[in-house]
């Protein structure tokens, strides 16, 4: 690498398989920095494998994933992960501030306690998502949107330039969806690249700058209008085309 890459995430010929079945097949895509990118695709399309590859958890059969120019497996911590709400134990004895502080754990040596600066960074991150007054609450006492924001704060405290969100909009009401989107937008404006796994095709065009359509292979990457094409969607979502006709026409209008 000569200079720092202009792309946040570079994926080249990525092929990953489980038991002789490809989860991802020859995926090549360059994701620019400062974008809000949605990953769409049906169940079992390899979305979670893609996430794992970006986090550096899987050893690809072939190809590379580079984060800011560094191989993903050596770039631990450069991508901050925001888990799905359903994957979190909300009864866990932990406060909002402690969750935000977790974002600093990588920077704290194992033999020492969190320093004062770490606490301050965590509080700052909470302020950014407007959750500072809830700092001492147990996380289960918050509403769905607040919970999502706490984990956003953790990702921000991590200081990574790339945030990876796993279905942040799953199971929240419309108002909460707005609130989360606003936080994502603010993070984007402060120079973060956000990669978001998303399920709802009807909102995909409205929320994201770029969409990435995968089903094992990469079908399309680009502006929503270019990705939400009837022929592409029909290939990826076989036989369930009828529903998407509306979306495509809505998009065209």
């Amino acid at each position: 690498m000569m200079t720092k890459s202009q792309f946040a995430i570079e994926v080249e010929h990525l092929t990953v398989s489980y038991n002789a079945r490809p989860a991802l097949l020859d995926v090549s895509v360059n994701i620019e920095a400062d974008q809000l990118v949605g990953i769409i695709g049906p169940n079992g399309a390899g979305k979670s494998t893609f996430i794992k590859a970006v986090l550096g958890f899987v050893r690809p059969d072939l190809g590379t994933v580079r984060i800011g120019g560094t191989n993903a497996q050596n770039a631990k911590g450069q991508v901050a992960y925001v888990p799905q709400r359903g994957a979190v134990d909300w009864d866990f004895p932990i406060t909002v501030k402690e969750v935000a502080l977790m974002g600093r754990y990588q920077q704290i040596p194992w033999y020492s306690s969190p320093r004062k600066e770490d606490g301050e960074t965590a509080m700052e991150a909470l302020k950014m998502v407007r959750m500072e007054e809830f700092a001492d609450r147990q996380i289960g006492e918050l509403s769905g949107g607040q919970q999502q924001r706490v984990f956003m704060a953790r990702a921000l405290a991590q200081g990574s330039n790339i945030l990876l969100l796993d279905e942040p909009f799953a199971g929240v009401d419309a108002a909460t969806e707005r609130a989360i989107l606003e936080v994502l937008d603010r993070a984007k404006r402060s120079g973060k690249t956000l990669v978001v796994v998303h399920h709802d095709l009807s909102t995909a065009a409205e929320y994201f700058d770029k969409l990435l359509l995968i089903k094992q292979r990469l079908y399309a990457y680009g502006e929503p209008a270019a990705v939400l094409q009837e022929d592409l969607l029909s290939q990826v979502y076989e036989g369930r085309l009828r529903i998407f006709k509306d979306i495509v026409t809505k998009e065209g209008a």
Partner: protein
């Protein structure tokens, strides 16, 4: 008094039991917090049962090869090996077959426990292990070696847990994030399992195979009901562990009962008490919260009653129209606090906010009445049914009804429908 509390303390066996029990209880409770949060209580049970094979194996090896009778370190090492191989077997079976983990645990630990039981009975002329002692434990007969072993185990395990507190916290709470910042999640899992095995092994001689899992999880679960932070939970759990041992030992001396049983009985009672009275997650506080909840229905009934009365309404009128038990005063007070009502001289008026709310309900009532009439509900039921249904006044519901009825301007009595 002296007889009851002080005189047991002068007995050596009681002192040893108290010290040994407390040490074991503290470390078991602290590790137990992680066991509870990771939902691996069943695994703790499995480890304690699997031990017997290790104890028998260790005994046999030391006796046959070195001629040592009941060599404690040998048996300890044996039980540790047995515990760890049980865990390995469990994860092997559940990962290569369709058998799920809880079933795999059940199969493996009973199997290895059975192996131990058979070995002990076959080699009964070589190894002198009292199965009953192993199963029930004997805290009142704690040997000095047991005390030392448990002290070392406790020191080692507590050191590990304190040093790597943040690592265990993160790996338990969010293993994916933990892995994403490069924490050795799998290694931490094994480290924790080893700690649990060590604790179980050192505790079995005191409270026995069956009760050891209780010492592991009950104090931790008790603390779980009281704390919103992991460090606080661990400290509280340790405290509850110690109080269980102290309370249980006195119980055992006074009632002349089995030591391990008395400790676990006390520990469980302690849990039940906390479960009842815990300020936030307890049953009592939940019941009080539920009781204090003022049903939306009552609030709305009060609002519409005052709206219909159309002037400052004394309480006697409200009582007549609103069906409540004793909750009316509380409801009124809450509504004043929520600025829905203002209180005058022994009567109540709607505030602006209250008026909006009341009109919304009244609107819903009128719409429901019109709707009921339209679908042919008998006249005399219309009002009372609408009275129940008026509480369904969500935006979607109202829009649907309004559209379906063609946005009526008047209700059946010719009254204007407030919009």
């Amino acid at each position: 008094m002296f007889e009851l509390f002080i005189s047991p303390l002068t007995e050596t066996y009681f002192q040893k039991a108290l010290i040994g029990g407390s040490i074991v209880a503290i470390v078991a409770a602290v590790v137990g917090c992680l066991v509870v949060l990771r939902r691996m209580a069943f695994l703790g049970d499995a480890l304690s049962h699997a031990m017997i094979a290790g104890v028998a194996g260790g005994y046999l090896v030391m006796k046959l090869f070195f001629g040592l009778e009941a060599h404690a370190p040998g048996m300890l090492l044996g039980s540790l090996i047995a515990a760890i191989s049980t865990v390995a077997l469990i994860s092997f079976v559940s990962s290569i077959s369709r058998v799920k983990e809880d079933t795999a645990i059940g199969i493996m630990y009973t199997g290895i426990f059975a192996l131990g039981v058979v070995a002990v009975s076959i080699f009964r002329h070589y190894i002198h292990i009292d199965l009953m002692h192993f199963i029930m434990g004997d805290i009142l007969g704690v040997a000095d070696t047991d005390l030392w072993v448990s002290a070392f185990v406790a020191a080692a395990v507590l050191t590990i847990l304190i040093l790597f507190f943040r690592h265990f916290q993160l790996a338990t709470f969010d293993p994916i994030m933990a892995a994403s910042i490069g924490l050795p999640v799998v290694f931490l899992d094994y480290l924790l399992t080893t700690c649990v095995s060590l604790v179980v092994v050192s505790a079995v001689s005191m409270v026995g195979v069956i009760l050891v899992v209780g010492l592991l999880i009950t104090p931790a679960a008790t603390a779980y009901l009281l704390s919103d932070r992991l460090d606080k939970m661990m400290i509280l759990a340790a405290l509850f562990g110690v109080t269980s041992v102290i309370g249980g030992l006195y119980l055992c001396v006074w009632l002349d009962s089995a030591g391990g049983g008395a400790i676990m009985l006390f520990c469980t009672l302690q849990f039940l008490v906390v479960l009842t009275v815990a300020p936030k997650y307890g049953l009592l506080s939940r019941w009080i919260r539920m009781r204090n909840l003022i049903p939306q229905q009552i609030v709305e009934d009060i609002l519409t009653t005052i709206l219909r009365y159309d002037r400052p309404t004394p309480k006697s009128i409200i009582v007549k129209y609103v069906e409540t038990g004793k909750g009316l005063d509380r409801a009124l007070k809450q509504m004043i606090q929520d600025s829905l009502l203002s209180e005058g001289n022994s009567d109540f008026t709607l505030t602006e906010k209250g008026l909006t709310e009341a009109n919304k309900v009244l609107f819903a009532h009128r719409l429901w009445e019109s709707y009921l009439e339209k679908i042919g509900t008998p006249d005399k039921e219309v009002h009372s049914t609408a009275h129940h249904l008026e509480h369904l006044h969500g935006k979607d519901t109202i829009e649907y009804l309004d559209k379906k009825l063609g946005s009526p301007k008047q209700d059946r009595h010719g009254k204007r429908i407030p919009r």
